[in-house]
């Protein structure tokens, strides 16, 4: 029975993540168009169904990607060229394993934590896997036998390393607040109320950390304000020599990393699956009203809340991606090393001092 539950969770996470990726490819086109007063995709039809604001264009895109020629540059390394997008996609996918999309529930007598892998160093796992993803991009640049692609790969590694440090340093503030690396425990800790009414979400305890982390997470996704590795207008990027579905896999990686950034921001700073005032037996509002709910409803509400929060986070990330112009390489490095890293260290010091004051 435990295997069935595990299998269900894995399937759910995989399909949800892929569904989000599918949705984001549509959102990318439609949202950017609508916020720029354009119309965007609205033509493709599937089996005579109405276009539904262009939702079927994803299917058309997928068919196009699959049917396209898979070109490998003659001087490139065939093996690495094929391997690179797989590495990138693999590491983007497996980093979702530790994200808790729901709390801990009793299902058929089993105590089930709604995440694929209940790891007590979950946060470190995410960072480790995200850093491994760089190999995909660097290998893509290297195996393409193209100087622009190589430059893109090098830029990707430089950018990821710079911003990973900020990201790691920012999270230390959270670790000091919640005193755990386990994402499930961290989410549960965020359900506690400060003074009986204010949920102790990460964004309330660590506002500066939230801004720094979301900036660094955006830089990790390599999307527009930080799209130096791609740099469409100057070097095209590490996927320059890719076509067909292999190019599509890099694109999927991009969207998966956006979803992952959204998941991390939600899990660390917006209470994950927590609904304010909702505990395992129903709502307990601070003004004294209680509203008891069956466990299954609570579970569905919490999972739904997590998905909704991730969707909103992805929306905001995409809003930023389509609003801001991109940084230059030197501006990116200056922002990363001279502004964000010192600020994140300051964040650690201030958090430490405040914790010390509260406890003494």
């Amino acid at each position: 029975m435990a295997y069935i539950i595990d299998f269900t969770i894995v399937t759910f996470v995989f399909t949800t993540v892929m569904g989000f990726m599918f949705l984001l490819t549509w959102m990318e086109r439609k949202q950017s168009a609508v916020m720029q007063d354009r119309i965007g995709a609205n033509r493709a039809r599937l089996f005579g169904l109405p276009p539904l604001l262009g939702l079927w264009h994803n299917v058309a895109d997928g068919i196009k990607m699959v049917l396209k020629e898979d070109f490998i540059p003659p001087h490139g390394n065939r093996f690495l060229h094929t391997l690179a997008p797989m590495i990138a996609l693999f590491f983007a996918l497996i980093s979702f394993a530790v994200i808790p999309f729901g709390g801990v529930y009793d299902i058929w007598g089993y105590r089930v934590s709604l995440q694929v892998l209940d790891l007590n160093v979950g946060l470190l796992y995410v960072f480790a896997v995200m850093s491994m993803g760089i190999y995909g991009f660097v290998l893509a640049g290297w195996a393409s036998a193209n100087n622009y692609a190589l430059l893109g790969g090098m830029r990707a590694s430089g950018q990821m390393i710079s911003y990973e440090i900020t990201m790691g340093a920012t999270v230390i503030g959270l670790l000091m607040c919640y005193e755990t690396l386990n994402l499930q425990e961290m989410t549960q800790a965020q359900g506690e109320l400060y003074g009986g009414w204010l949920p102790m979400w990460g964004v309330i305890l660590q506002p500066l950390g939230f801004i720094l982390f979301s900036t660094a997470a955006m830089a990790e996704t390599k999307r527009v304000p930080f799209d130096i590795p791609e740099g469409e207008s100057e070097i095209v990027g590490y996927f320059m020599e890719y076509s067909g579905m292999k190019f599509g896999m890099f694109w999927q990686t991009d969207f998966l990393e956006t979803v992952l950034a959204g998941c991390l921001i939600v899990t660390l700073f917006f209470g994950g699956w927590q609904v304010p005032f909702l505990t395992s037996d129903g709502f307990h509002f601070p003004w004294g009203t209680d509203w008891a709910l069956p466990a299954i409803v609570v579970m569905l509400m919490q999972v739904g809340a997590f998905l909704f929060k991730v969707l909103v986070a992805c929306f905001v990330l995409m809003l930023i991606r389509w609003t801001l112009p991109r940084f230059r390489w030197d501006q990116l490095m200056r922002l990363g090393w001279t502004m964000m890293l010192p600020l994140s260290i300051l964040n650690i010091i201030v958090t430490g001092l405040v914790i010390l004051l509260i406890r003494s």
Binding site: V34, M35, Q36, D37, I39, L53, L319, I320, T323, L324
Partner: protein, 199 residues
């Protein structure tokens, strides 16, 4: 060259965050307004609101300025025959040399000539409007509003007398829905002009 002053960002602006929030609130405002219109139109509401600046071209045409030079037409006399007197002014002035006229003798000595052939190769035309300017009889105009001039063949871009005349409405008393030359109000040619074959 005027000297461009480099505007230094203030400390508040250099923290980025408030400016980013200002920026995304602007774009989000556009998004939610437009998306509301799009969704309303999907279920058949708010037909008059526009959710975008885009004109969906083949289905939806933007209004053209009345001054815009579009496909030519030949205007008609009261009896429906072409006003053109085959004076060759337009053919002479045309910088693209896309007009080809063959003159014939008109039965009415007051009119003297009429076009037996009047061909415009729209594929060559540069839409300069000189033919309209040059015409002493107001016989050619470029006000049909037809802008989608395209064809799969070169022949399809050739507009002859019949086609150009049909773009003008028949005067009220002689309205006929016919395409035969005699019904277009063309007089029967008195003499076959020479050089008709050498086009």
């Amino acid at each position: 060259m005027p000297i461009k002053k480099v505007v230094e960002l203030s400390l508040w602006e250099r923290t980025y965050v408030p400016e980013v929030i200002k920026g995304i609130s602007l774009t989000a405002g556009h998004f939610f307004r437009n998306m509301a219109v799009h969704v309303a139109q999907l279920v058949g509401l708010a037909k008059d609101s526009r959710g975008s600046e885009t004109y969906q071209y083949p289905e939806e045409r933007r209004p053209l300025s009345p001054r815009l030079r579009t496909l030519h037409r030949l205007t008609r006399r009261e009896d429906g025959s072409p006003r053109c007197v085959a004076c060759m002014m337009c053919e002479t002035v045309c910088p693209a040399r896309c007009i080809y006229i063959v003159a014939g003798e008109h039965p009415n000595p007051q009119i003297e000539k009429y076009p037996v052939r009047f061909d415009i190769d729209v594929g060559l035309c540069i839409m300069c409007g000189y033919c309209v300017e040059a015409c002493p009889e107001d016989a050619i105009r470029m006000d049909t509003g037809i802008i989608d001039l395209s064809s799969y063949t070169r022949e399809g871009m050739m507009y002859d007398l019949k086609k150009l005349l049909q773009l003008s409405p028949m005067p009220a008393k002689t309205v006929k829905a016919s395409t035969k030359p005699e019904d277009l109000g063309l007089p029967a040619p008195l003499a076959t002009p020479g050089g008709e074959q050498e086009h």
